[in-house]
Amino acid sequence: MEPRVFELDEHFFRHESGRIVAALTRIFGVHNLALAEDVVQDAFCRALEVWKFRGVPENPSAWLMATAKHRAIDVLRRERTARTFAPELGRLIESEWTLAPVVHELLDAAAIQDDELRMMFSCCHPRLAEPAQIALILHILCGFSVGEIAAAFLSSNAAIEKRITRAKKVLAGSKKLFELTATDFSGRLSAVHRALYLLFNEGYHGASSESAVRTELCGEALRLAGLLRRHPLASTPSTLALGALMCLHAARLPGRIDAAGELHTLFEQDRSRWDAQLICEGQRLLDLSATGSELTEYHVEAAIASVHARAQSTEDTDWARIVSLYDMLMAIRPSPVVALNRAIAIAQHQGPEHGLETIRGIDGLERLAAYPFYPATLGELELRRGEPTIARNHFCEALALARSPMERRFIERRIAACQNDSDVVLMEHVSLRE
């Protein structure tokens, strides 16, 4: 009488949405993306109505796919003269004899395995700016609504809506999903890496002060990086390094933002809250990534995170190694933010005066003008140097730049620390995003 209770994975609907939209888009053609989305929405409404009463079926994923498949066949039958679909379907949809079998074959579990990946590569179209690529990935592959993306990025619904609509137009113009055998595969793979890296960073360093939102964004980036790793063509050393970097950082997330939504720097974190399993997985991926000749920024960043993960405390950290890794990162991908992080490591290794001197010598320092953790870093170093008055001024400057209540509360705590100069901490390595 009662529904049988099979538990759904967390975010099951979101993830299935990405998978089925990607598969249907291959069949309908990328120009009919909206149609694929409608079919999936229909299938989900149906699942919701039935599962409310009957509970979750034993194989919910197959149930959803079968429902979507039926709808897709209806749509193809109804619209085969009015629309053009994917060229693969050809004339097979013209006859009732071939329509259903060909759809079943195309939506075979093995066939749809590549679809999510192809969609991921398609979303990283060179004509799209990185924020548009990320919004598109979140929307299509991760099943986030416009409102949910806007909330995660502290942006307006209208702005995200506009970004996604434009991005979809570009995607629709690309005629078909990206082929994993294409000649520009490796170039596109780098773009995918970058987008996933930025998505992860948004979760790790972004503006949202809700730890749940951050965990979700990081979780999505980890999941998509895992999809890349499972594909023989996409599982390159840099893909592995990117995965390592995400695992090693995600491991620290429970210590970084506590349940009350308070930000804790690397220096104040309770390291017992770090996720040992993720650290292990990160180390494993980092070891695996050490093949081939290419050394990417992901390798170096993962190596830095690995030094932190191995250390019992800040004092126990091999800062000399971290400084040399930042030197390497500056050679591969120089930016004022990387330089600022390097300066923090130097301060830790050689003292705050050296850190401040290094900061003064950073190229393009003006690009950090709006970044709250730039004056906050100056404040920390001045405080450690025994200059609480100067430190306080820097922190006040940082406070004016804070992007969220969480950052504001964090900086206020630092201002308070300037009054009783005992409580000295240093910034965690700040965002590496430019």
Partner: protein, 113 residues
């Protein structure tokens, strides 16, 4: 104990995948609660949105349910409760209220023959 029919009317089932999953969980949890408290006689069924209406002496057949879309019956459940007041109280746990829908609580006629 008397029997009552819950008719679920209206309610917007669209939303983001995450919202839909939340909604589904709430329904399953609510139904389980009714079962655990011994108030669930039969879980009932969802109804397809479309249908036909046959009407009048001419028995004309028209498309679609009679009601306005916002009042349309989307499903039903058979409930056991002490009296109508208790049945109405039980319906308050229904997640449909979060989606602008409502529950119609109807006593099943007691027939003693």
């Amino acid at each position: 104990m008397s029997e009552f029919l819950f008719l679920y009317r209206g309610g917007d089932s669209s939303g983001s995948p995450e919202e839909m999953q939340q909604t589904m969980h709430k329904w399953v949890a609510w139904m389980k609660e009714l079962g655990d408290s011994g108030n669930l006689k039969a879980i009932g069924n969802p109804l397809e949105p479309g249908g036909k209406v046959v009407k009048g002496k001419q028995k004309t057949i028209t498309d679609g349910p009679y009601a306005e879309a916002k009042d349309m019956v989307g499903g039903y459940t058979l409930i056991e409760a002490k009296d109508l007041a208790e049945a109405a109280q039980l319906s308050k746990g229904c997640p449909i209220f979060e989606k602008d829908g409502f529950v119609e609580v109807r006593p099943i006629m007691q027939i003693n023959m």
